[in-house]
Amino acid sequence: MSTWTSDVTVPRSTWFLRGVRAAYSLPGLILISSFIGFAALAKDAGVTVTQAAFMVGAVWALPSMVVLVGAIVSGAALPAAMFAVTLSAIRLMPMVMALMPEMRAGKTRQWVLYVLAHFVAVTSWVLAMERLKRVPPDMRTTYYAGLGGTLVTTNMIVVTVVYAVADALPSAISAALLMLTPMYFLTSLWGSARERAGHMAMILGLVLGPVFHIVLPQIDLLVAGLIGGTAAYGWHLWRRKARVA
């Protein structure tokens, strides 16, 4: 029944390395390409290379980092930027909640889970939800530390390298790099929506973002999120009621 029983004797370090290897899979490589796009975006916004690498390690959620850079570009004050990023990061909570039962074993210490939760973002979450089942329960935190730690450090290096070479790139390539981030999110956000309301929220946000960028430039993202999200939720409730009736 369990595929890992034969692996019980495998040492902890091997499980860590298996986690490291899981980072270099297709989702991991797509993530690297989107961090190349993020580096181009951050550089363009006037963020220095150390600040950008720090941002990767400290925030580690690409949507929130893109929102943060967006707030930096629009000259938002610290409270407004914080509010927008907080709103963009709410999705991390249900993700962590769903991952914890998979990761916890009998004697897992609570602080280990708090530390590892920092690595939770779309890519590592998708990989973990898919692969932790095949890892012995008491090796899961080790495996996830290898996976999450590798994704974070690799992409910090990626960002640093892109900063170093960005100026030497032809402008068509720079334009293509800047296009990576919106395309990555356009596809990943649509694919990860849990309910139809998520797709509705996405369509509304795509339109409301640019509209409020003109009308209320400093709080455009916040307003687009609040109005678009509430409208999509209202549509969700209305649809459910219509179906019951």
Binding site: A71, G75, P94, A175, L221
Partner: protein, 116 residues
């Protein structure tokens, strides 16, 4: 109070810590704390997810409509066409991200090459 308003070297890092690190990890920590206590399908979480999705979609919209750097020198029509066709290919090809992203990038580069 904005990112570039203070000349001190530490100000951008503090900005990132408060508006970036604290603003994201509060949800991760809450997720560990609440793990298993709240149902994932509760109505409150649906609202929370739609708001977060609309906000990130707002960012995507702005990145395409009001881009910076080299992308700002491309035409609006080219960017919209590349993104829309890329997304259509993504949907048609069984939601394969690679297909959608590659299509949009190739169209953008082809458009630039042909001076659109």
């Amino acid at each position: 109070m904005s990112y570039f308003s203070n000349g001190a070297w530490w100000w951008p890092y503090l900005f990132i810590l408060v508006a970036g690190f604290a603003a994201t990890d509060v949800w991760r920590f809450l997720g560990v704390y609440l793990g298993g206590k709240l149902s994932e399908d509760s109505d409150l979480l649906v609202l929370v997810r739609t708001m977060a999705t609309a906000l990130v979609a707002g960012v995507i919209g702005n990145l395409i409509v009001f881009p910076g750097g080299a992308l700002a020198h491309t035409s609006f029509a080219l960017r919209i066409a590349a993104a829309a066709l890329g997304f259509a290919v993504y949907l048609a090809w069984g939601k394969r991200m690679i297909a959608g992203i590659a299509t949009a990038e190739l169209l953008l580069l082809a458009g630039l090459y042909l001076n659109f």
